[in-house]
């Protein structure tokens, strides 16, 4: 894992000191809110419906136990005892007081963390495959490159006043778990003829105008990544629509100018700036890579795992849903669900954070990950330790066996917290999860991604949910639109709107109809919801959602 060098340490400390001064000047009245707002946003501090909210970056979703412990400390000391893990692998604190925020940032700096560029029109926290460094299907760990991008983008003088925010995601696997096609830049490490390079995808994004990213370079030599990325952001920085914030993202620039023209401009810019990169970035990358060396995996029998798997049906069910194949023999990737039925998706209490940190220390080579699906991952656990780990998770109420199932719902904070929201999303997620639990059908239903956003900005990724739910304000009442057939993987697709929206008390029954209706439509048990949707098209699903209209048309 990356450890701050003297430069990182000094930079983050200086930013904390600056912000401490800014907060003092705001409180004593020397700064107006108009003056203070851009300063607080540069440090991840929002003012929401009921309180301030501090968004802390978890770079490429990677945490050590000490960092997770520190997040617990913040939750307990400055908040109401919990934190909310987000779809951008960040953590948000919903109740800090203004005067405490500099102390929070200082506590974070102690463990090499910060909230810089988690807001504002800058390059945001670089996100990565949450199974990075552990996945069996990976060509290379993308995190050293992600860390290089973090260092390059942090306080980059050219990119502090971009037309709009800019999000980069990276994966090292063909199986895309980082939604790279829905980012401003999506990067995929690839190995061709033994050489490591990068596929560069540009112009993806969700929000008001959802777009799937387009390939800008199919195979870029790895050593060109920084100058090339800088060229992309630089071209957009000049062309981007500063006149209209809804048209300012790079997806619109690519759409308006066309990928060929963007490609030509980027190549020109790349040629111009490349000589300025002396190779020092590659030296730094080599240095970073040594810090991401894989842990010393041990060779041990897995009998304890096999015995527990055979004997304990609860353990078996959890193992079947929450474990993923690891690249090392005898190891597994453990997903800890933060989606207990009826709980708030992505929330963890301070106690739960400490339990997860302890488990990472004891069984997981000191590593944790935050997934964009709002769960926590222990990437490296030897199978012989899984029965003990499972028992510890159970006693901390963290053993829900639902990864990838109907109740593993992504939901943004929505109008329970967010000042931008047009409707609530959390209670919808809670009610859907409780309902599928009552019906006991989610294991039978199988793989299903339900994603909920409380406004058009789509933090809840609803466009790429197999079932997407978008909460809107329709004439002063909450209303929920359903989209179907979205996909956030390498087969990325934007969901289609199913029809008129549903009222707050109609949306959960509508989702239940869809789920049970799918069970009747599927060809066989292994045909997933999304596969059935692709085979049959929208019509039978719309008929399930709108039975009255279907009858009228008959």
């Amino acid at each position: 894992m990356y450890k701050y060098n003297d430069f990182d340490e000094a930079f983050v400390r200086e930013r904390v000191a600056q912000f401490r001064g800014q907060v003092e000047r705001r409180i004593d009245g020397s700064l107006t809110e108009d003056e203070f707002k851009p300063l607080r946003l540069m440090n991840g501090l929002y003012l929401q419906l009921h309180a301030y909210m501090l968004r802390v970056a978890v770079p490429y979703g990677t945490l050590s136990s000490a960092q997770m412990d520190r997040l617990a400390h913040l939750a307990e000391t400055y908040d109401k005892g919990y934190g909310h893990f987000t779809t951008r692998q960040n953590i948000q604190y919903n109740w800090p007081e203004l005067k405490d925020v500099p102390d929070m940032l200082s506590d974070l700096a102690d463990v090499g963390m910060h909230a810089i560029q988690t807001s504002g029109n800058t390059i945001r926290n670089v996100t990565a495959d949450h199974f990075a460094g552990a996945a069996a299907d990976e060509v290379a760990d993308p995190r050293p490159v992600a860390e290089l991008l973090r260092q390059w983008s942090t306080d980059h003088p050219e990119f502090q006043f971009l037309p709009r925010k800019f999000k980069i995601a990276i994966t090292g696997a063909e199986d895309d778990r980082a939604v790279i096609k829905a980012h401003d830049i999506g990067l995929q490490l690839r190995r061709v003829d033994g050489t490591l390079g990068v596929r560069v995808i540009v112009g993806g994004g969700l929000g008001r105008t959802p777009m799937i990213g387009k390939v800008l370079r199919d195979f870029l030599p790895l050593e060109d990544l920084l100058p090339y990325t800088e060229a992309v952001v630089s071209v957009w920085n000049r062309l981007g629509r500063r006149d209209n914030k809804y048209k300012a993202r790079i997806k619109i620039t690519v759409h308006e100018h066309g990928i060929e023209e963007i490609s030509r401009l980027v190549e020109d810019r790349f040629t111009a700036i490349k000589p300025g990169f002396s190779g020092v970035d590659q030296e730094i990358l080599r240095e970073i890579e040594t810090q991401f060396a894989p842990p010393a995996f041990r060779n041990a029998p897995t009998d304890a795992y096999d015995a527990a798997y055979a004997a304990d049906p609860l353990f078996r069910s959890w193992a079947d849903t929450n474990l993923t194949a690891h690249r090392a023999e005898g190891y597994a990737i453990v997903s800890i669900s933060l989606k207990k039925h009826g709980a708030t998706p992505g929330d963890a209490t301070a106690d739960q954070m400490r339990v997860m940190a302890d488990l990472a220390r004891t069984y997981g080579h000191d590593e944790l990950r935050v997934s964009h699906e709002q769960n926590i991952i222990l990437p490296h656990v030897h199978k012989s330790d899984l029965p003990d780990l499972y028992a510890a998770l159970r006693s901390a109420d963290l053993a829900t066996a639902n990864i990838g199932l109907a109740s593993d719902i992504i939901a943004c904070p929505g109008m329970d917290y967010c000042a931008l929201a047009t409707a609530r999303s959390i209670p919808i997620a809670q009610q859907i999860a409780e309902r599928v639990e009552e019906l006991k059908i989610e294991h039978e239903v199988g793989h299903l991604k339900i994603k909920i956003s409380g406004c058009i900005n789509a933090c809840g990724h609803h466009h790429v949910g197999h079932i997407g739910i978008l909460g809107l304000d329709r004439a002063g009442v909450e209303n929920y639109q359903i989209t179907l057939g979205g996909d956030g993987t390498q087969h990325a697709a934007i969901g289609e709107r199913a029809g008129p929206g549903f009222a707050y008390d109609e949306i959960v029954p509508a989702i239940e109809r869809l789920i049970t209706g799918y069970l009747a439509l599927r060809e066989h048990e292994d045909e997933t919801f999304i596969e059935a949707y692709r085979r049959l098209g929208a019509a039978p699903f719309k008929a399930i959602l709108y039975p009255q209209e279907a009858r009228d048309a008959a």
Binding site: R26, I27, G29, T32, E33, L47, Q48, L49, H50, A51, Y52, K80, N94, W95, P96, E97, L98, K99, T344, M415, D416, Y417, R424, I426, P427, Q430, D473, G476, V477, E478
Partner: protein, 101 residues
């Protein structure tokens, strides 16, 4: 015909704590919407908003929000403003916690 003015209250977030507050006839800020000044005249509402915004050392982000007159004083008419008088729906935090509503 000019559009009829919908009654309003002035609301903001407290600078230090960030919680929702409402502007009273006494030029103070209350955590209870029932204490808010009920504004039925557009010109007066705009003037009061300027006066409210001038208290930048106490609050941030003051704006006019639709309201109606209820038995105990002004009440919100839109669900967003109603949530601001209570707190989130997933935990008993915020004003509902303080008020034991």
């Amino acid at each position: 015909m000019p559009r009829q003015f919908t009654p309003k209250v002035i609301t903001a977030n407290r600078l230090l704590e960030g919680d929702a507050v409402w502007f009273t006839t006494q030029d103070t800020w209350s955590g209870n919407i029932h204490d808010a000044e009920f504004l039925t005249d557009e010109a007066h509402a705009d003037l009061r908003l300027l006066e409210a915004q001038a208290q930048a050392h106490v609050i941030a982000g003051a704006y006019l929000a639709d309201a109606k007159q209820g038995d105990n004083g002004p009440e919100p008419t839109h669900f967003r403003e109603a949530f601001r008088t209570r707190g989130p729906s997933n935990y008993p935090h915020g004003k509902q916690e303080q008020n034991h509503v």
